[in-house]
């Protein structure tokens, strides 16, 4: 009888461990599927390195990686991010991610970033992306690079995801996500104490002007009027 109780106890303990393992695996699968689905509902947050109260040495921050890939138009790109004079905000976005919509919208307007900060949108390779949808979403003048390698290098959990790189140090200074680019900028401002993230730049072309200029260019192009066309200069045709 005692032997039977012992065997049952052991079996019960094994079953408990098995069920706990299955539940944990199920939770992991759900989290990964949620991230792949665009991460809707991911909590906004930005982790800065080093934190206000340093717990690690700055040289232990993750190393930044240059971004290599191609544009939607097939242009090969090698963009320097590490060991350069400027900082870079990498925005990992995708065309099918609903929560990326606010980011694409914010990119069309004046960006609230410190002067000299480069913004690079990184989407996945063309076999994982809709390049036609990306072309529609991309506002004029915004640099979009297709690079699944960059997603792997920066261990991007899902889109939207932002990584702020300290160029001169060649290290990731902070990363996280938000509901919009404006919110990410606010989180960066709070974390870094740099008002450049939230103060409207006094220079640069207003977004409305840039959009209008682009629309005029597109209309002229659609009408077959290319740069250098004599009709643009009021000559007789």
């Amino acid at each position: 009888m005692i032997v039977l109780v012992l065997v049952e106890t052991v079996l019960l303990a094994m079953l408990t461990v098995l069920v706990a393992g299955l539940l944990r695996a199920h939770g992991t699968v759900l989290r990964r599927l949620h991230a792949l689905d665009g991460g809707v509902g991911r909590d906004a947050g930005f982790t800065m390195r080093p934190p206000a109260v340093p717990t690690t040495r700055p040289d232990q921050d993750p190393q930044a990686h240059d971004v290599t890939g191609e544009t939607v138009d097939g242009e090969l790109v090698t963009a320097r991010v590490a060991d350069v004079d400027h900082d870079t905000l990498l925005l990992f976005l995708s065309s099918g991610c609903e929560s990326c919509g606010a980011f694409w919208g914010d990119l069309a307007g004046p960006l609230l970033l410190p002067v000299g900060t480069r913004v690079l949108v990184v989407a996945q390779d063309r076999d994982l992306e809709s390049t036609s949808a990306l072309a529609r979403l991309t506002p004029p003048g915004v640099d979009v690079v297709l690079s699944s390698d960059a997603w792997r290098d920066y261990e991007v959990p899902g889109s939207p995801h932002a990584v702020f790189v300290d160029g001169p140090r060649g290290r990731v200074r902070g990363e996280g996500t938000g509901q919009s680019l404006r919110q990410v900028a606010q989180l960066l401002a709070q974390s870094t104490g740099d008002a450049g993230f939230v103060v409207t730049p006094s220079t640069g072309k207003p977004g409305r002007d840039a959009r209008q200029e682009s629309e005029v260019d597109q209309a002229l192009l659609a009408a077959g009027i290319l740069p250098g066309d004599p009709r643009l200069y009021g000559e007789d045709v």
Partner: protein, 162 residues
């Protein structure tokens, strides 16, 4: 060292230099500058852009849209290939990759004249391919260093035979 290779061109990039390599088959989308929509006679051959500053999207073949963003210590390089029919014409009579000297640079050589900048343009044939090398320096003050660095990049350029 990072290298860029395609269309029979290969170049190694020094620290902080970046590259864009494309072959324009038609007007670019999402262009930031009208020049990037392309001229009717624009090259459909490979165009290689190199720079020691962030290259923006939507540049013209000879750097319009990029040179306006240059600082005093910056350099922009454009290597444009021309049609095979151009090989043998007097303009492309020079053989091999050109060597660069500070004395070759002048504001008058700029495609678009901007304050402080200097330019240099060389036409040549290498590997049976007709090409133009166009270099813009940000300022005369940094010219010596920039030319040395650019010359090292250009002489390291590999061009496959046509």
């Amino acid at each position: 060292m990072t290298a860029v290779a395609a269309y029979g061109l290969r170049v190694e990039l020094p620290r902080a230099w970046e590259a864009r390599l494309y072959r324009r088959a038609g007007p670019l989308r999402a262009a930031g500058h009208p020049e990037a929509f392309g001229h009717p006679d624009a090259s459909v051959n490979p165009v290689l852009h190199l720079a020691n500053f962030p290259l923006p999207p939507g540049r013209g073949d000879f750097g319009t849209g990029a040179v306006e963003r240059m600082g005093a210590a910056h350099v922009f390089v454009s290597l444009v290939e021309y049609d095979r029919a151009e090989v043998g014409r007097p303009l492309f009579a020079a053989r091999g990759l050109p060597r660069l000297r500070v004395a070759d640079f002048a504001p008058q050589a700029l495609q678009r004249r901007l304050p402080g900048q200097l330019g240099c343009q060389r036409f040549f044939t290498v590997g049976g391919r007709a090409m133009c090398l166009y270099v813009v320096l940000g300022s005369r003050r940094h010219a010596a260093d920039l030319v040395d660095e650019t010359d090292a990049v250009v002489t390291g350029l590999e061009v496959a035979a046509a």
